[in-house]
Amino acid sequence: MTERLLVDVRDLRVSFPVGIGTAGTGTVTAVDGLSFGLRAGESLALVGESGSGKSTAAFALLGMHRGTGAEVSGTVRVAGTDLATATDAELRRLRGNRIAMVFQDPLSALDPYWSVGAQIAEVHRVHTGASRRASRARAVEVLDRVGIPDAARRAGAHPHEFSGGMRQRALIAMALACEPEVLVADEPTTALDVTVQAQILDLLHDLRQQTGMALLLVTHDLGVVAGATDRVMVMQDGRAVEHGSVQSVLRAPERPYTRALIEAVPRLEARRSAPPVSEEVLLRVEDLHRHFPAPRAAASAAASLSGPGQAPGSGEPSGEAEETGAPAGRPAAPSGGLGRLLGRRPRHRAVDGVTLEVRRGETLGIVGESGSGKTTLGRMMVRLTEPTSGRILLDGRDIAAAGERELRPVRRDLQMVFQDPVSSLNPRRSIGDSIAEPLLAGGTGGAAARSEVQGLLERVGLPAAWYDRYPHEFSGGQRQRVGIARALAVRPRLIVCDEPVSALDVSTQAQVVQLLGELQQEFGLALVFIAHDLAVVRQVSDRVAVMRRGRVVEQGDADTVYDSPQHPYTRRLLAAVPVLDPDEAAVRRRARAALRALDRSEGGEEAQAVA
């Protein structure tokens, strides 16, 4: 029956009413005339930048727009059922049973109040009517199937007790519970680290091979596509702009948009072509430590909503929380301040004895997965975070323990560009004011600061006339430019860029990276470039440090680290990086499998940090 289309989408249109509260003042068309089909065992990737309508289309396959006010037209048939005419009950019988979905954020996609096993069992029971016991057994079975160690015991654990990768596995297990014919995966790896991403993608690949189900993968990352699906459909503004086999689309894109997308994907092989830089050390950190109190999770509705125990301003603990099991994003409110008097909580070593140096005019890349301590390290370098111990030498002078007053003279030398383009700009001040703030604080007159800022705006590629605009009028990339202009305003010698492009679409990423490079040349800046994306780091860095669990496991010249990694962790990281070439991707997948087999024989799947 391979002739029959399992999924048949024709001229799908989805539009949402816009306007809050009262009836729509207009509509936005998210998907506009999309058609595709999927047979058993086939796989298709929907690729596009944010807002391209790819997720909306995926949701339409499960009839998820019903009852939300969205208008859906065209036909969507899944396993022979026309979703437009199906009754609610028919729709329910379809969902999770014949077509299952894996979501982007595995933490929020699972009910925090239920154990993982119970949630999977519930889905199984609903569709099969099996006994409680049988469903329970099935849950354990599928958990084991997706590679959860000790599945029988782990089935009783709650989602927050799982690491990110394991949660995604659990979600996939839920999808497998009823042996569906179609699996829809909506950005299944976006929230995951690169090594975990590789595992999940490999798992999806293996499952498809073994069960013969069809896979629809929704992703913004063309790099992911190469190793995961047979066909790819590129979407832009709700329309499919290109559709074909992975090989043909990735190797010979027809549309300029596709081409641009592909070119924007950072390549691991891309080296930096910059003139050699001086050997003179600008900033040196020695045996730097930063310990945080381990996150405490006693929540209290009555007590203060955000306890002083959370080190404000440290970007790391939230990432860390995911690994240690505390729910990130929920206010973990300690109650009873007296508690602090009654004993110390265990300390979490975010940065655990790092020694490295930044030379004048160079770019030092710092790579690492979430929770590796790279952000904390970066913030310590500019003294936003106070080190627990260790030295930070700027021109040979130790500023590790300097007070705010002593720091004032060196503040101008050390600047930072932040990851989140939303929170890095004060929404209540015009961008011009935000950029001018350090000048004004430093005593520059208003008029002088204004003209200076206008010059900076033009330098980062924004019209000077936008001085008085507010951040919300800007796109993510533009905001990041503003952030760069602000860092430049005081003519620093070192800028720490903390994941400066990770929140941006790929095409924008490239522009920002390019701008940083230009500015570095022009102002003779030293850059510390912190990122989880190995390709981006290689592209911009002269030297690279690899961080893991608060330590630098390997550092050196970028080419050396990338081409002949010494530390096994570095090797694993590199192996996990997705590539655009489908053949290469297959090779790498096999290499990873081998590495994993090796790990298993060494005992314990290390990358799956378990709480």
């Binding site: 329910r92 299952a100 979501f103 109040y113 239920w114 927050h160 006693a298 509705a301 007296l338 508690g339």
Partner: protein, 329 residues
């Protein structure tokens, strides 16, 4: 858990300590001499001095406070002149007005507030949570608008107002119910309940409004969460999604709020008691404030605060029980 309890106990004690000190200080500044009031008419200097000594108000403030604390922890002896009475720990002392042990006065009034609170709680939970869930599920519909309007109206009615109006309507005009008077449960459960209906309603309707609001927003928040979408995407019925998944998450904050509200009310629902003429802790407090009856004021205040602080701790525990992500440390 043990550590949590320990930490909580210590902080509770501290809060109560500070609170009692504040109350002492505050009432020290109150005009009027309790000795003169207790002594009666034609009380001359010498007799007054004796009474002052008996009440202990001749001592400096800090000594009075210290004796109070001693009494709480270890009990204390009262020399009444005629004999020495030992007041066992926890000793809140004796009322200046009636010479009765404060603890006894408090415990004898507690049933009123317990009856008021528990009965009202049942009503406001059912009405409040029910309304909240219903208006969350009927979002955007006429039902929701109606319920939201009622909820806002409920929140806007001061408790004494609704009590007054209810009494006016049910007792005076329609004659459906007797004018409420407190009947101990042990005496006559039916009379207990029928007399408490109006106080329950007036307390509950207002509180229910707040709960409805909270449940609604919390329900909407939970319904918007990704895991609800997961449930739907996996073919769970809407009913199952709501009762099995959304409600539990939505009710967690309600549980904590409940603990806190109950704690607050157990310490005295002054206005409700006033409107219905019930003799609970709230009225005891107001009376003793009016009569500068310091031991009673301190005792009731501490009791009320104790309930509130205790309720906070209970809320935390309940929260941890309800939400597996939360661990007590």
């Amino acid at each position: 858990m043990l550590r949590f309890l320990l930490r909580r106990s210590v902080s509770t004690l501290l809060v109560l300590l500070v609170l009692s000190a504040v109350v002492f200080l505050l009432f020290y500044a109150t005009p009027g001499d309790p000795a003169i009031l207790a002594c009666g008419k034609g009380c001359d200097g010498e007799r007054l001095a004796v009474v002052r000594h008996k009440l202990g108000t001749d001592l400096p403030l800090w000594q009075q406070y210290w004796h109070f604390l001693q009494g709480l922890v270890a009990g204390r002896d009262y020399d009444a002149g005629t004999d020495v009475t030992h007041c066992a720990a926890p000793c809140f002392g004796y009322s200046f007005q009636t010479d009765q042990p404060v603890l006894g006065m408090i415990t004898s009034r507690l049933p009123v507030d317990v009856s008021l609170t528990l009965g009202a709680m049942v009503i406001w939970l059912v009405v409040g949570v029910g309304t909240g869930v219903l208006s969350a599920l009927r979002r955007g519909g006429i039902t929701e608008r109606l319920l939201t309007g009622l909820t806002l109206a409920g929140m806007s009615t001061p408790v004494f107002l609704i009590g007054l109006l209810l009494m006016m309507l049910c007792c005076s005009w329609l004659g459906w119910l007797p004018f409420p008077q407190y009947v101990p449960f042990g005496d006559d459960p039916a009379a207990w309940a029928s007399n408490l209906v109006l106080p329950w309603l007036s307390l509950a309707l207002i509180t229910a409004a707040a709960y409805a609001r909270m449940t609604r927003s919390s329900m909407l928040e939970t319904l918007a969460e990704d895991h609800i979408r997961t449930g739907r995407a996996y073919g769970l019925s809407e009913r199952r999604v709501v009762t099995g998944h959304a409600l539990r998450g939505a009710l967690t904050p309600v549980i904590t709020l409940l603990a806190i509200d109950v704690g607050g009310m157990l310490g005295g629902a002054t206005l409700t008691e006033s409107v219905f003429g019930f003799d609970g802790l709230g009225r005891l407090l107001v009376d003793s404030v009016n009569h500068i009856d310091l031991p009673v004021v301190v005792g009731v205040t501490l009791f009320a605060a104790f309930f509130i602080v205790l309720a906070n701790a209970v809320a935390d525990v309940l929260y941890a029980v309800a939400d597996p992500r939360v661990a007590l440390a």
